[in-house]
């Protein structure tokens, strides 16, 4: 399964595979961890080092706490 997580990160899964793999990742903390560590490795190799101190979680928590959702007609570029 970790192989598919790696390929998911790279956007190289067949479209019909994405949803089932994503569902497994979303429901399995170990696979979510794998996805984030693979992403971290790539970022470190590109020079974007990080202390892995919850930067991701703070972004996601704020999105959830604000109840962010897709809003038809919303312009993300509006000032």
């Amino acid at each position: 399964m970790s192989l598919k997580v790696s390929v998911l990160l790279d956007g190289q899964l067949d479209p019909e595979e994405v949803k089932p793999v994503l569902n497994e990742v979303a429901s399995d903390p170990a696979l979510r961890d794998r996805y984030t560590i693979y992403a971290l490795v790539g970022d470190v190799l590109r020079g974007n080092s990080t202390p892995d101190d919850g930067f991701t979680v703070r972004i996601l928590d704020r999105m959830r706490s604000q109840g962010a959702h897709v809003e038809p007609g919303y312009d993300p570029f509006a000032t």
Partner: protein, 215 residues
């Protein structure tokens, strides 16, 4: 002969590559547009640090960078229905981040850092979550992570590190790597995975006790 063929088809290859990059996140974006939150979260995990590095060209303090990055992803999620796929998702996100950063500067012009002061040229370049020089402990942890990755990379089988570096650092696509190395795409996929897994296992002792929850 091979060079001539590549040169003659270079225009086509570039056009194809652009399509490849553009479509890379298409299915995750499509799912997120239909309200699948984990699909968008997967995109956040994938692009957060690249966006943070871009934002740090405009905003210096780590806390401000983090605010701008959070605003960027919230705006992107809310406005996802307006994304038509005319550019890559990352390009679209990048433009939103630029707008949000510039607006932040208008409200608080103090942290402006452009041109020669761009973080790539600064010794204290931004690290997501690191508060510049004010937090040496977090900087040390970031350095330990970078060192662990580097050490793992040095112990990795050359054919695995080659595939990973071509993908992550050189920005080559799977088909390009397959062509360059003369191997099937399935082998590229496996080599990149094995390289990541090798590094991840050596990174876990450094990461484990610090932050069990990452997503």
């Amino acid at each position: 002969m091979i060079r001539w063929v590549i040169a003659a088809t270079q225009g086509v290859a570039y056009a194809w590559l652009e399509m490849e990059i553009r479509d890379q996140d298409a299915e995750l974006v499509r799912l997120a547009q239909s309200g699948d939150a984990p699909a968008f979260e997967a995109l956040v995990v994938k692009y957060q640090r690249r966006i943070a590095r871009h934002v740090a060209r405009y905003v210096r303090r780590a806390v401000d960078v983090e605010d701008v990055v959070q605003d960027t992803f919230i705006r992107a999620y809310r406005g996802l229905s307006s994304f038509r796929g005319d550019s890559s998702f990352y390009s679209w996100l990048y433009r939103i981040a630029t707008n949000v950063a510039i607006n932040a500067l208008k409200r608080d012009p103090a942290p402006v850092l452009l041109g020669d002061d761009a973080p790539e040229e600064r010794s204290d370049a931004f690290q997501p979550g690191v508060s510049d020089s004010e937090d040496p402990e977090r900087r040390l942890i970031a350095s330990q992570i970078a060192d662990a990755v580097q050490r793992a990379l040095e112990r990795l089988q050359p054919e695995l590190s080659e595939a990973l570096m071509l993908y992550e650092v050189e920005g080559k696509s799977y088909p390009e790597i397959a062509q360059m190395l003369g191997i099937p795409i399935g082998t590229v996929r496996t080599r990149i995975f094995r390289a990541r897994e090798f590094i991840a296992k050596r990174l876990e002792p450094v990461l484990g006790p610090q932050r069990p929850r990452r997503w």
